[in-house]
Symmetry: C2
Subunit: 332 residues, 2 copies
């Protein structure tokens, strides 16, 4: 497989965005996040997603010039308008606001409406953890999953991120509410691989491990059946109510996903040393179990991300050559 | 099936607790929560659990006289010691503190250590919603679920509750991180019913729908496989770090579950009218899907709770006669 150094990928993305009229600062910022997502093994929201991000810019649905604006402040909750700026920049900004509020007051909460896809939600979890803060964030999406008992997409897969800082690698959970994220299904499809566990239904309503069948039926399975369906609904309620923004329902009126709603919460641990001891104790205990398969160790959320990061920084980031070429062509 | 009026159940529980030395106020408060849990159809954490609650009092692991005490205040985050008081009273107290902080400052967060089982977590979600607030709370438990990839219990099933207020019935998600809660498994076992979907593994490591097999192997399936395993771990990290309390690891050093850790967050919606409109819009859209089974309507979290409540208030609460008699004997 073709491999591209992290710095090359970042510089290439940045050049493309400069051509699209981004300021140098914003081009580098966006390019860094895309390249970091691929570097960390989240290829679906790194290089693989970059061409459609550029398409969204060309369509005017992502506005490189826009900045978020404050709409209301209610105690420690802030409500912002994303003004359709790049979702990653809005999300970074909001998590930083939440971190700042949290450092001042213990906890902070920032809601944003009219923003765009943040790509990898984990990015903002790592951001909070890098600042020594607990980070929690979630987003709605276009409808891409039926509610439990239904067959039509009426829920987003609404990723939820929870991050806890840790000296030797943060603990970062980044989970979509579908058993497999849509990006993951596309990955299995393009690799012609079956899913290890059922990820949805086929057109006849049978549980399926075939990504193409599931993409065609649009019946992705919620995490834990009725439970993930309920959790997805709650996250849509929270982001919509707190941001006064568009719900999955309104977002789904459009063919393309834009103008979504998100919430960022940060909590400041009282004592970093005590937090650290407790975290290590919990992780050690979790790993102290006999294994179901001796070749598959128990890992904490974020552990494999860090391993992939180290390998990809050393050996280069594996890329789908056709997608990489598509990006290079944008520079012609 | 035998049915007992709500008021009779409440009065009976209260009399038992008075005999156990509870003050009148606390006896009624605890009795009300137990009776309400059964009234709302959560029988596993109502009547069915009452005898083991009384046992915990007799063992001195639940202290009816104790009151929570403030250990630290860090901005809008408060850290309390539950002093092994009844878990339901501590939880009610903490959610009320979070609601008060939220009403003053937009958001509030209260952590408590050294507390006891709160029975039905949904109780505190309904409490926040009744106050017009969003409520989020979660708890750790004794280890009762293997982490993904492991076969020994190293994680709690750590319920997560998210509640959004609504005029015609609050939206309240109350989910344990195992696909089926332990109480639910016991219910299927005592009814000699198979689970509708796999809930764990048998002793040979095969996915199973048999509650007894799963209880014996102690290999409950996390919600969404690796995802629920990760989320459970994160919740244990959050409650432990924020409360400076015992993690699932430490709780599991004891044979009985006591001295657990919990977090309560409340957020005050800025505008009740706007929240209400957005909530109705989201619920209507979710239900506006064709059904997989025309006899099984799509319901929002909490909807069936409310229906069961209405029926049980009218017709009496169905009880397992042997358990009800066990409680009556306590009054002899």
């Amino acid at each position: 497989m073709m491999k591209i150094p992290f710095e090359t990928m970042k510089a290439t993305f940045s050049k493309v965005l400069l051509r699209e009229g981004f300021s140098e600062d914003k081009a580098i910022h966006c390019a860094t996040i895309f390249a970091e997502n691929s570097r960390d093994g989240v290829y679906t929201h790194g290089l693989n997603r970059f061409p459609s991000f550029v398409e969204m810019i060309k369509l005017g649905l992502v506005n490189g010039d826009a900045e978020p604006t404050l709409e209301n402040q209610n105690g420690l909750i802030e409500r912002w308008n994303g003004n359709l700026a790049p979702g990653m920049l809005n999300a970074k900004f909001c998590m930083q606001r939440a971190i700042d509020l949290g450092k001042q007051n213990g906890i902070g909460c920032v809601a944003i409406r009219n923003t765009n896809h943040w790509m990898r939600g984990g990015t903002y979890g790592w951001q909070a953890a890098d600042a020594g803060s607990i980070g929690i964030c979630f987003t709605n999406t276009i409808a891409n999953m039926p509610p439990w008992g239904g067959i039509d997409p009426r829920l987003g897969n609404n990723p939820l991120i929870i991050a806890v800082p840790r000296e030797n690698g943060h603990v970062v959970l980044d989970m979509a509410m579908s058993q497999y994220s849509f990006g993951k299904l596309l990955q299995y499809q393009s690799n012609h691989e079956e899913l290890p566990l059922p990820g949805g239904y086929d057109e006849k309503g049978r549980l399926s491990t075939n990504a193409t069948d599931i993409i065609n039926s649009k019946r992705l399975l919620p995490v834990g059946f009725w439970k993930g369906s309920g959790l997805s609904l709650m996250l849509d309620l929270l982001v919509t109510i707190l941001s006064h923004g568009d719900s999955t329902r309104n977002i789904s009126d459009n063919e393309k996903e834009y103008g979504i709603s998100q919430v960022f919460i940060s909590i400041q641990p009282e004592n970093a040393e005590i937090s650290s001891q407790l975290t290590e104790q919990i992780l050690a205990y979790t790993k102290d179990s006999d294994l179901a398969d001796p070749d598959k160790p128990i890992s904490y959320p974020g552990e494999n991300t860090l391993k992939t990061r180290m390998i990809n920084l050393k050996e280069g980031i594996p890329v789908d050559e056709s997608i990489w070429n598509k990006v290079l062509v944008m520079l012609n």
